[in-house]
Amino acid sequence: MTGSKRHISMAWVALAILSLAILSFRLQLNFNLGVFFPDSNTLNHQILLEQLRNGPGSRLLVIGLSGVEHDRLAGFSDQLKQKLATGQIFVNVLNGDFEIESSGIPEPVNSYYLLLEDIDFSKASLHKAIESRQRDLAFGGGDLLLKLIAKDPFLQTLSILQRLAPANTAEGIWFSGNGSAVLMAETKAVASDLGAQALAIETIRNAFSDINKPDGVEIEITGVGAFGVELQEIIRAEAKKRTMLASAVLMLILLLIYRKPRLLLIVSLPLAMGFLVGLALITLVFGSVHGITLAFGFTLMGIAIDYPLHLFSHSRKNAPADAIKAIWPTLRIGALSTAIAYVALSLSGSQGLAQLGLFTATGVIVAALVTRTWLPQLITGPACGKAQGLLASISPKLVFLPALACVVLSVLAIQYLGEGKIWDDQLSSLSPVPKQRLLTDNTLRSAAATADMRYQLVLHATSLETLLRQNEALDTLLQEAVNDGFLGGWQSASQLLPSQHLQKRRQATIPGSEQLATRLNEALQGSAFREDAFVPFLQNADSVKHFASLTPEFIANTELASWLESHLIFVAGQWVSLISLSQPQPEKLAVRIKTWDIDVDLIDLQQSSQALVSNYRVGALKTILFASLAIIMLLLIDQRQVQRIAWIAVTVVSALSVTVATVVSLHDGLTIIHLVALLLVIGLGLDYALFLSRQETSDGQMATRHAVLACAATTTATFGILAMSSIPVLKFLGLTVAIGSISSFLLAWAGSSLYKQRISPDAN
């Protein structure tokens, strides 16, 4: 090894060590899927994304018990609820059976209930309440009911709690349509905290196994957190299995093609360096790296495996140093073009994709440079190259017909098979959760009559006080809508956090302690209650009258903090009240809302999510279109061969058309995942078309065809293995790239091999 070669090797090793050092000290992985949601400028879209991340229901683990008859399931449901309610992991565990015996009264309702409702403290009202409580106790009480009545003779506490419950607790234990007893366990941790969610699920399973029950009783757990945990486990196992299988197939193909085991080690070097340097760079730029960036990024960087294969094929009859010189212009322009496409991805609107784009673009460039500068030193090729310059150089006769024909056929196929619908804008289609699990979750949730997942009312204002006052006015109108049958019920922030104005007004209506005691004594006349039976009520009223007003900061430290967080958020400089609805009649409600003198929006989350994804996709396509133009300009400047560039462009477009037509006919439509995969197809198409349209000697052409065949075989095989995955995201990615790889190869091959054209005797 000469001095300069040694320096190059040392430089790469040093870069690898530096990257490793950066990763050791700075790399932080996160698994918050939210970073992959598109950034959005509209308030409604920001609200939608906030809802997906932290909205009502996102912290609920839904538990279904099945396998024995109804009554026995009700008993097991109750036992499981009791076991889970005692732990520290859940805010609340409900099974439809609302009873204060087990749940207690959470703060701030326990202390502030007198400020959460309008209460009539007149003697007549007190007398009526006392009479009702006497009748209640004539039927039977219990310790907790006695304590509750002593503190709250109006029993407002119970009606407040029932109103705040995340699901209907008025009809007894929940049973789903398929006969399962249903429980809802609200975790303290957010859904994206997968460690805490895994612990919560383990706690539920342990509690379930502790219940004395017959064989055949089964448990099913769904919910955002449960899906996150399952996915983490499944993706890890699936990725490991598929990676090992794909690596084995890749090695086997390379061994068959090159018959040199040493090359198997060398082939991974550009990819490994690209991975290390790319990862170190995004660690420095973004601080933390998403798990999906790693998984998808490594996949997209798969194009880099082609670079050493081109070098190997061209080194079979040439010295590696000569071979790389011969192919470098093509390899360089291919790598640059691919990097431009990936950079476009990073500009398309979410932090996750920005990471992915920068990571893969860096990786591809680094892999190309490693192939150019380091790999030739590591390959043991022929001692010296043949005098290539003496041989005639041949330029393939490039034909456009196959590619153009495929474009037309693909468009027709999309029209016929996909009914002209290319895009699938359902946000749920991006979900890696199997549809069957989503269906089960839906069935179980419907038993609990949780808030409607599609329609929501939204109020917003720059000041919290203004917002809450508007909300209170809206509550009155919503009650009218309930009375008129347009709505089953609603939950809004003002039910737990009244405006300061209303709290002060309610405080003012609480009589002074002496006056209240006098009224109470008068009301107690003729009742069976002792005179001191309601001392806790008098004490509480006196305290509440002088309490500082209830604030979001106070509630943040109470058991109902998560309830308020899911109904009151602060986004884009605005306070937003999210009013969840149950059993809304959206059309009638929309008409009614227009008559109200309050600026409230009825949001259709489904429509909003489709618009969000659609905007996202349009933005991504525009960026990719600009990137494509930039790639064509780059090719024209670099190659200055208009016909060849036109052929390359048509071939890549054709391969994309065929891929899109095939994928659309197999899936319901293209999602963002497919779009990411199509970027890799562009990279592959460019690589194959650039190399197969090269002007070179017949030996060189043989080597190029050998290399492109090797590239296409390895890419198609490895992504084909990914396409067999049970995880929708991996399946989409694998299938799209495998189809794209094979169609790119066949179109480039067919369009360049029909004719050959002799150019000059010494072209290099």
Binding site: A74, D78, Q82, G96, D97, F98, E99, E101, Q134, R135, L137, A138, F139, G140, G141, G142, D143, L146, I149, A150, A170, E171, G172, I173, A528, F529, R530, E531, A533
Partner: protein, 183 residues
């Protein structure tokens, strides 16, 4: 203590729970009047209720309070319907396990359903067949936190009274009219 147990055991010899409850069983439809005292720590004096119980059919009772106020409870296996001042409110019995267990226990006593009683309570029969006491203690620990015990008193042909002890210090005694204890 052992002596007491032996004494109780000896006293109860010659008759068993199944036998006494079969003898006192009421076949629906039937009606029985009651006087009930309810004591709890919030009351300065017990509330005294009078009224009647209609045993409509198996699994369905109606408790009608006539004094000191008018109110009725239709009790089924799954719900209670409370009629108060011209309005009715139906409550699911799954909301309160102690209530459900107590009510089903009372119905089982009236119906002479020993199997149902023994599935939910530990049964302890004392006294003589002319004046016996059947103490029902909940088997479920959770239920025992709320319901200490139920004590049924009877003679050869009738249930005389049912005393229900709740925690803490709340109890009621329901005496059935026209069923004087034989002494």
């Amino acid at each position: 203590m052992l002596c007491i147990l032996i004494l109780i055991s000896a006293n109860a010899q010659g008759f068993d729970v199944h036998e006494v409850l079969t003898n006192t069983a009421v076949t629906p439809p039937d009606r029985v009047s009651f006087r009930e005292e309810r004591h709890n720590p919030m009351f300065k004096q017990p509330i005294v209720l009078t009224g009647h119980i209609d045993y409509i059919k198996k699994g369905r009772l109606r408790k009608v309070i006539e004094t000191p106020f008018s109110e009725s409870y239709l009790i089924t296996d799954t719900f209670i319907e409370i009629s108060r001042e011209g309005t009715s409110q139906r409550l699911s019995l799954s909301k309160s396990k102690p209530m459900r267990t107590m009510l089903s226990g009372i119905e089982a006593v009236l119906a002479g359903d020993t199997d149902k009683l023994s599935s939910q309570f530990q049964l302890e029969l004392t006294g003589t067949e002319h004046d016996w006491f059947l103490r029902l203690k909940p088997k479920s620990n959770r239920l025992a936190k709320h319901l200490t015990s139920m004590l049924v008193r009877g003679n050869e042909t009738n249930i005389i009274s049912i005393r229900i002890d709740l925690k803490p210090g709340e109890w009621s005694l329901m005496e059935f009219q026209g069923a004087a204890p034989s002494s």
